[in-house]
Structures are given as structure tokens and as C-alpha cells.
Amino acid sequence: MENYKSNFKELPEPIKQFGGLIGIMIIIFITFFVLNKMFGEGDELVAKMKIEEERIAQERKLNKLISSLPSGILVSFDGTDHFKLSDELYEAVCKATKLIPQRAIMGANFLNFRAHEIYTINGNKIDETFVKWDKEKNKCFAGFVVSGNNVGVDETISVSGEALSFLSTGIDTRVYFIKNF
């Protein structure tokens, strides 16, 4: 060891400096390798991001479709003067719709007294809303969850039904009528 040390000391200054430079580079490489093991997410991220990009593309497509729809009420059944959605459009609108306005909630609550009670007692608070496309039934389902304290009892009630009509604002679509009977 002593021998190596004295040999190193005897080396000319430029060689020592060059060795130092290489040493620093090696330290940097090793540090990066260690950090890459700990934090690097190269391939998984590529896969994740591709899925995300597909989702964004799909959403854009739906948004484009929605902006082409007429403003007003869109229905999935015959017999009204409102715009009748084709099967394809019905599915697309269902997938693009995220909002359930109070009107639709109040309508659904009309047939669910307990949900209506909790909804009223807790200051019209809604925990969660959902709009889902049911592949098996080929139908759009929408619903909401209300929870709260009803005369000393904590209750959670989920109300859901078929979304039969939507309201198109020109910018987005909202569930207009939930058939929960």
C-alpha cells in the first residue's frame, strides 16, 4: 500500500491530474447508476404514458363529437321532439358525460324517499356521482351516492338508473334524466 502511495506521488503532475479527472468521472457515473436504480422509470413510464396519450386522444375525439351535437335535450328514445341519439352517439355521449346536475338528482330522489331525506338533511350534499356505459346491456347508467346522519343513524345510499336523456350545452353534456324505477 505504502509502495503504491509513493509510486503515485512520484507520478508527473499532468498524469495525476488526468487520473483525477477520470476518477471524478467514474464517481459521477457510479452515482448516476445508483440513482437510476432507485428512481429511473424509463420503460414503464413509456408504457404508462402511451396509455395516457391514447386516453387523451379518445377524450379529444369525444369532445369533438359533443361540440358537433345540437344544444338542448338529447334523448335515447322515440316519441319526443328532442334530438334523438343514434346507438353510436348514445354510447359516445355516455362515455363523454361526467356531470349530473341537481335537476336529475332531484328527479331520481323523488322516487327514493330515504335518499331524498338524507340529501335534504345534509344540505344537498352529494358524495359521488358516476356515469357508466354498461357493455352487456348496451345502456348508459348514471347515479350518485348520498350519505349522512339521519336522526342519529349514519346512512349511505346509492341511487342509480338508466340515463335516458342528456342536456347538451354546446361545450359539454350532462345527464338530464335518470330512470330509477
Partner: protein
Amino acid sequence: MELFKKYPKLFQWIFLLIVFFALCFAIDVPETYKFIRGQAEFVKDPNQSTFVFLGKEVRYYAFDVFWRLPPLLGWLPIWINDSLFFLMNDWMPMEFWNEDTQEYKTRPLVLQITRNLTAFMTFLIELIREILLGGLETIVAFTSWDWIDANPWAELPGLPWTIVAAGSAILAYKLGGRGLAIFAGLAMTYISIFGQWKPSMQTLSFILVAAPLSFIFGLSLGIAAFKSKRVEKALYPILLVMQTMPQYAVLVPALVLFGVGDHAAVIITMIVAVPPMILLTLLGLRAVPPEVIEAGRMSGCNNWQLMFKVLIPTARRDILIGVNQVIMVCFSMAVISAFIGAKGLGFNLLLALNQLNIGLALEAGLCISLIAILLDKMSLAWANKQVDYFGNLNFFQRNKNSLFFGLIMIVGIALAYFGSIYFKEYNYLFEVPHNKGISTADFWNKGVDWIFDTFFVYIKAFNTWLIVEVLQPMRALYLRMPAIATIVLVVGAGYLIGGIRSALVVCGLTLFIALSPWWDRALVTTYMATFGVIVSCIIGFTVGTLCFQNKHSTKFMLNVCDIFQTFPSFVYLIPVMMLFGITDTSVLIAVIVYATIPATRYTIEGLRSVPSGLHDAATMSGVTKFQRLFKIEFPLAFPHMMLGLNQTIVFALFMVIIGAFIGTEDLGQYILKALSDKKGAGIGLTLGICVAFIGLIFDNLIRTWVDKRKKHLGID
């Protein structure tokens, strides 16, 4: 091998560059990398990874670490915000007496201190503003609204512009002679008749509070640092960072602490203006010859007397140059602090730039520049003025300036009284209202329109060429650098220039930026600054060298540099916006103009520092002018010129950050965004530190190289 022995450094540099480029080519750009999805966007995205540190969740896009390091310091801005919030809202609540409600109120200590401080600052600003412009807030502060209603005579009337203008001329005459007096008189008259009196006095009142306070704090801290090594060591890193910290960045945390308005602006200005004062005080006190100190001690001075009767008077010149620097920083801040609601010319300038009313901006900018030049010249004249201790003067000679001023007061008041009778609507002999003066705004605006109409095709072609052919490829090259390659290059350069110590310092500074969430933005800032520095250096070195060939042109160029240096940095944006509109080209041209000043100045001063004996020796040896320049003057002046490069980099960085106002996509843009963000304090401060560190990396490398080179040449 022989070549390697002969040029070892050259080979080491070549090796470093080969490794750098090899890394750049070996590491591919990740498929998912998009500049717009920078780490700093702070949007929630399911693709982000997260980590929790000190209870703070940090979201980021996890790339291959060789490409971009994870933002392991991402918690820092959040932590700063939370700490500030805690300090201001929760820490040490105490009972404080409230004068308005006449009852005790619970308030956190820091909030109470900052509110008291801001109230004090507001009072000082109002006091000076009302002396200059009139008002009643100061009197009300000591009495009450009822009292002032009953005694309307007590309202401060303000000073007529004629008295202020003549007073400045007398002061300028006393300090610098007839030339400066004429300039002072003309500048003040111009400001008045162009209707900029009120905003100018508002700016002046802000400076008259900020500058003396900065002077007192700077001088005290400078003395403390001179007396105690510990204080000096504690201050050193702060001073170092503050020298390269963009002034913008200081605004954001101060906004949280002190709120919006003139008072906050004064405090921020003090924070920025105190460091140069400390440095110059320290420099001056250190330069006092030991014989002088010894003579003081021999005369029986105690420590207090030695400091105030011997050291400070001997270091007077450096200290007064510190005052000059303080005033210049105050002017620069007068514009920048308009962002946080400071009134005055800066606010008008900002408003005009915002409305793209170039004519109005030019008028306000010209007024700021005129006052800045005037105060710069006056403070320098004060610094260089020799005190005549032996003059045998009579009463009139001793007090002639005061007597003249007294006379002018009487004349000014008489004129204002006459004006109140003669003018029906506005008393122009008292104050020319803001919108009633002469205005050249329309002329300039039409000029801008004409320039656009006439040269639009050429300007657009130049703009497109510069952006497409030069700037975009350069930006892409910088963003294409993998993190590991950049760190290898910077640390390797540090090692080759200054050894392991320098390598560690630059490594620490670079890592801070690389581990912050803004590495990509920092690369854009560096690319813009690099472009500006390269062009500025080419222009500055060429112009400096050419001007140095003749002593008249040297003097002229140094004067031009002096004047340009006094312009607040924001003013540079006006002419470029006139010509190039809101583009990156405008920012870069402003950067080039601003950064060319130190490049030119240091080239001239570097060439001047070559001993005249060497010139003579060279001439005697029969060398041509060209040979003398390249074989003797350049090699000897090069270390000094490199210090100019250092300053050029700092100037360029400052201007790039200010350029965010026009719309760049670098760190400055995020600082600007942080200004309007409720939780922006931490982000603003961290971004400011990042910019300061970019400057410090270059500063460390250049200074180390210069010191070594000077030692090698035997200059120092």
C-alpha cells in the same frame, strides 16, 4: 506522448469534451420527453411518480436518470411556503395593543413585526412624499382627522418644482461644478414640463427612504464584518448569492412577508442594495494603510474614535462609491418593484409597456434615466470631492450655497404665488399635472408605426431567420444535453481549472439546479444568456479594443458605458420592443445591449492596465502595433477581460430574467408567474437561487482561472 507532455491541459480538455459529446450521443431522448411537460408544471397527471419528503408530496415525471435527474429538491419550495405560512399565521401568537380598536388583539409575532415595519416604512415614504408633493397624512399621523379639519392651514403644501429644480442645481454645483449644475437644472425642468413631476417625486421619495436606510445597514454590517471574521464568514455566502440573484426573485417572498405597496418595495430594495454597500465598506476599510491605523492608535484613539475618526474618513471614497451603487440599485428596483405596487415612474413605465404604448414608456424611461444619471454623477462627484480643511473662508464664502438656496426658496414661493393668480385652472409654476405637460408619446408611437410599416418585411425576415436558424437549433441543442453529460462537463471544467475544491463547488451548485424541478427551464435560461454573452463579448471586445487605440475614443467610450450602466435594466426593453415587438429576438437584443457594457468597459480597462513600460519596451524592440496588441497587450489584459466576461454573464442573466416580461419560457417566466401566485414565495425564491447558482458556477470557474492566470503572469 511528446505532445501530451507539452500540452497536458489541452489533452485533458479534449478528453473532457470527447466524454461529454460521447454521452450526448449515447443517451437517447426518452420517447416520453416533452419540454412542455417540464417537471415544473405542477399539474396532476397519472403518469407522474411521487415521493414524500418532510411530509411533502412531490410529483414528477420519472425519466431515465441519465437523461434528467429526479427533482429530489422538489419539496423545498413547498417547505418554504409552509414555513412562511406557519411563521406568518401560527408561530408565537401574542397579545398586542391595537390603537384603532383600543383593545388587545392576538397576532403571531412575525406578522406583528412585519406589520410594524411596513407601517414605519409607509410613514417615512409618506413624510418625504408630502414634503415634496404636499398632503396631510403625516400631520394626521401625529394629530387626527378632526384636528386637520379644524386647522386646514397645517396641511403640508409641497415644494414648487422650481425650488426643487433650483435646489438640485445648487447641490450639483457644490458637488461637481457648473456642468453638473446645468445638467441638474435642465433634467429637473424637463421632468416638470413633460408632466412627469408627480411620479418622479414619488420615485424620488421611495429612493430617499431606501437609499439612506440601505447605507446605514450596509455600513454597519460592513464595519461588523471588518471587525469580526465570524460575521464576515456568515455574510460571505449571502453576499455571494445576492450578487447574482435576480432582483425579481426577491420580490416574491417579500410579497408574502410585507404585502403590496411602496413599503414592501423599500424593504426589498434594501435587501438588494445592502450587499454592494457591505462589500464596498469592507473593501474601503481593508484598504486603509496600516500606518494610518498605527498613527490613530499612537494619537490615543479608542476603538470608537479609531473607526469613526480615522478608518471611515480614510475609506470615505470607497464608502461613497458604495452609496453610488446603492442609489443605482434603488433606481433599478424602483422599476422592478412596480410589480408589487410601488408608485412612481416605474409603475407608469410598466403600465405603458403593458399597454404597448411605447411613446409613454419612452417618456417615463427617459425621466428615470435622467434622474439616475443625475444622482449617479452627483454621488460620484461627492465621492471624489476633496474636503478643504485649510481654506480661510469668510461667512459668505462658507455659506454661499445655503444663502442661494434660501433666496431661491423665496423666489420659488413668490413664483408659485404669482402662478396661483395668473393661471386659472392649474398652477404651472407649482406643479405641472401628469397629463397636462408636453407629451411626445404620440410622436414616438407614430414613429414606431412608421418603422413597422416601412421595415416590417425586413424586421420579420430577420426575426424569422434568427429564431428559426439560430435560436431554435441552439435551444434544442441545450435541451438535448443529458443531465449526466452536463454535470460531467461542468464538474470536469471545475476540476481542470481549479482542482478538486472548485470541482466540488460547481458540482454542488449544478446539482442544486439539476435536482430542482426546473432543470429544463434552467437550460433555456442558460441558452439565452449564452447567446447574449457570445454576441456581447464579440461586440464588447472589438469595440473596446478599437476604442483603446485612441485616448479620446477611450474616454468617450468609458463615458458611454457609464451612462448606459445607470439606465435601469427595464429601460432597455423599450427600444427593442419598438423595433422587434414581443418576441425572443427583443429579449436577446436587450440582453446583448445590456451585457455589452461590461464587456467593453473591462476590455478597455484591461488593456489600460498593461504597464506603460511594457509598451515602451515593445516599441523599442521594433514590434508593429498589431504584434504589440496580440503578443503583449491581449495576453496581459486577458485576465481582466475575463472578469469582464464574468460581469457580462451576470448582466445577461439579469436581463434574460427581466425578459420574461416580454414572454420567454425560461426560469424568469416562472418567477413572473410566482409573483401572481398565492403560494409562489417558495417557488420564486428557489427559482431565484437557481438563477444565482447559474451565475455562481460561471463566476467560480472564471475567477479561479483569472487568479491562477494572474499568478502565472505575475500581475497580482
